[in-house]
C-alpha cells in the first residue's frame, strides 16, 4: 500500500529511471566486448568480410573527404594498410582462416605498391619511395608502415613473394634511422613524427626475428635512440612531433601515443606496454561505463587536428579508437570493454548479409577497427 500510494513508490520509479539511464547504455553498448576480447572468430570474420568488400571497390583519393590531396592520399594508404594488418592479425590468431584472407592481404600489398597509393609520399618528396632505397632520405611513413605489413605477412607466410622487398626496405630503414641525428626518420621533408617511426622500428625488429638476428646491438641502439627522443619523461607519452635536433615540436599527445602502442606491440612489447601504461595513467577516463582517452594530459588543453580528429571536452576521437588495440594487446579487459562501448555507440554496427559493419566509420574507420579489435595479446597466441 505504501509503495502504491506513498512517496516510496515514486522513489522506486525514479531510481529505476535514473539507474537505467546510468547503467544500461554502457552495458548494452559493451555487451559484445567480451567476445571481441577473447578473439571470437565469427566476429572477426564478420568485420573482415566488410573490410574485404570495401577494399575491393578500387578506392582512390576521391573516396575520402579530407579536403587536401595529401591527407586523402594518406587515408587511402591507411585504409589498405590497416586492412592488411587486420587480416594478418586475424590469420595469425586463427590460422584456419588463412585460405579466405591471405588473398586479401595480397590485394592490400599490391594496392599499397600501386602508383596511385604511393603518390601522396612521392609528391611530398619529389621522388618515389621505392626508387629511393639506396639513399638515406626519409619516407618514414610510406616505407615504415608498408614494411610493418610486409613483416606481419612474413610471420604467417614466410615464403611469400614480398620477402625480398621486405629485406631491401628494412636494410634502407636501418641505415636511415641509424644515421638520423634525431634518431627519427623524416616522414616528409623537415617533419619528424615519433608515431610514424614506431611501425618503422617495429618492422625492423620483426625482420630481425624472421631472419634470426633479433638480439643484435643495432636494434638496441635504435630502440634506445627512439626512447631518448620520442618519450616525454614527465608523462611517459610520445611527443607528437620532433625538430631536426630531436627537441619536441609538439606536445605529448594521446592520438600518437595510442597508435604507437598498437604498432609497437608485435615487435617491442615491453616498450608498447610502457607507453600503454602512460596512456592509461595520464589519459584514460571512465564516463558512466564508457571509456574515453584524452588527447592531452590532465591539466593541459589543446585543439584537434587531422591526427586527433575533433577534441571534445578534452577527449580525442582517434586516441579513443586507437587505444582499443592497445587495451587488447596489453591485456586490459576492463579498459577494452569501456572503449568498445564507446566505439559501438559512435560506430553503430549493423549486420548486412551476415557481415559486421560499423555504419558511421567508412572504409578507413572499418579497417582501423578491424586492426584494433584483432590486435593480438602475446600470451593468448
Amino acid at each position: 500500500v505504501i509503495l502504491r500510494r506513498g512517496w516510496l513508490g515514486q522513489v522506486c520509479v525514479l531510481v529505476a529511471f535514473f539507474g537505467t539511464m546510468v547503467f544500461f547504455p554502457a552495458w548494452w553498448s559493451g555487451r559484445d566486448a567480451g567476445s571481441w576480447y577473447s578473439g571470437d572468430l565469427s566476429r572477426q570474420q564478420g568485420l573482415a568480410r566488410t573490410v574485404a568488400v570495401q577494399i575491393q571497390r578500387d578506392l582512390d583519393q576521391q573516396d575520402f573527404f579530407t579536403g587536401t590531396g595529401l591527407y586523402s592520399g594518406e587515408w587511402l594508404f591507411g585504409t589498405y594498410l590497416m586492412a592488411g594488418i587486420g587480416f594478418c592479425q586475424l590469420v595469425r590468431e586463427h590460422p584456419e582462416a588463412a585460405g579466405e584472407f591471405t588473398p586479401r592481404i595480397e590485394t592490400c600489398i599490391q594496392t599499397l605498391l600501386s602508383k596511385k597509393v604511393r603518390e601522396f609520399d612521392a609528391n611530398s618528396w619529389h621522388e618515389d619511395a621505392l626508387s629511393s632505397l639506396p639513399s638515406n632520405v626519409g619516407h618514414a611513413a610510406y616505407l615504415g608502415y608498408l614494411n610493418l605489413l610486409l613483416g606481419l605477412y612474413r610471420e604467417i607466410a614466410p615464403g611469400n613473394s614480398y620477402v625480398g622487398l621486405n629485406d631491401r626496405i628494412t636494410e634502407a630503414l636501418v641505415r636511415r634511422m641509424a644515421t638520423a641525428p634525431s634518431g627519427l626518420v623524416e616522414t616528409y621533408p623537415g617533419e619528424r613524427y615519433p608515431v610514424d617511426n614506431a611501425p618503422l622500428l617495429a618492422s625492423i625488429v620483426l625482420h630481425a626475428r624472421a631472419t634470426g638476428r633479433e638480439s643484435t646491438d643495432v636494434i638496441s641502439r635504435l630502440e634506445s635512440g627512439y626512447r631518448k627522443h620520442s618519450i616525454d619523461p614527465s608523462t611517459g607519452l610520445l611527443f607528437q612531433a620532433l625538430g631536426a635536433d630531436g627537441s619536441p615540436r609538439d606536445a605529448a599527445r594521446g592520438s600518437g601515443s595510442a597508435l604507437a602502442v598498437f604498432y609497437l606491440h608485435r615487435g617491442l612489447p615491453k616498450l608498447a606496454r610502457e607507453i600503454f601504461e602512460a596512456v592509461r595513467r595520464e589519459l584514460a577516463v571512465n564516463v558512466a561505463g564508457f571509456g574515453a582517452i584524452r588527447e592531452y594530459p590532465r591539466g593541459q588543453t589543446g585543439s584537434g587536428d587531422i591526427d586527433s580528429g575533433p577534441v571534445v571536452f578534452g577527449f580525442g576521437f582517434s586516441a579513443t579508437g586507437f587505444s582499443l588495440g592497445g587495451a587488447r594487446a596489453c591485456n586490459d579487459p576492463r579498459l577494452f570493454r569501456r572503449l568498445y562501448a564507446s566505439a559501438q555507440f559512435a560506430g553503430a554496427p549493423i549486420h548486412p548479409d551476415g557481415r559486421l559493419e560499423f555504419v558511421t566509420a567508412g572504409p578507413l574507420g572499418n579497417a582501423i577497427l578491424l586492426a584494433m579489435l584483432t590486435a593480438g595479446p602475446e600470451d593468448q597466441l
Binding site: 513508490g9 520509479v13 525514479l14 537505467t20 547504455p25 555507440f345 567508412g362
Partner: protein
C-alpha cells in the same frame, strides 16, 4: 472504458518516434559519411548540426527510451499513480 491509458500511448509514440529518427539519421550518416569529414576537421555548419542531431537521437534511443520503459514497467508493477500517468 480506457483499455490503454493515454500516458502509455504517448510514451509509446515518443519511443517509436525516437527510434525511427535514430534509424533515419543512421542511414543518412551511412550514406553521407559525415563522420569522416568530422575526423578530417572538414565539416560545414549544417553537417555539424546533422551530427549533433544523430548523436542526440542515438543518445535518446540508448538512454532515454530504455530508462522511460523501465520506469514505466516499474510504475505499472507497483501501480504507482502520478509519475507517468496524468491524474
Amino acid at each position: 472504458m480506457k483499455i490503454v491509458p493515454g500516458s502509455t500511448i504517448r510514451l509509446g509514440i515518443l519511443c517509436v518516434a525516437i527510434l525511427l529518427l535514430h534509424v533515419v539519421l543512421l542511414e543518412v550518416m551511412a550514406r553521407t559519411r559525415i563522420i569522416e569529414k568530422v575526423m578530417a576537421m572538414q565539416f560545414t555548419f549544417p553537417e555539424l548540426l546533422l551530427i549533433l542531431a544523430f548523436l542526440a537521437a542515438r543518445f535518446a534511443s540508448y538512454v532515454l527510451v530504455p530508462a522511460a520503459l523501465v520506469a514505466f514497467v516499474v510504475s505499472r508493477i507497483l501501480n504507482v499513480s502520478g509519475s507517468l500517468e496524468p491524474k
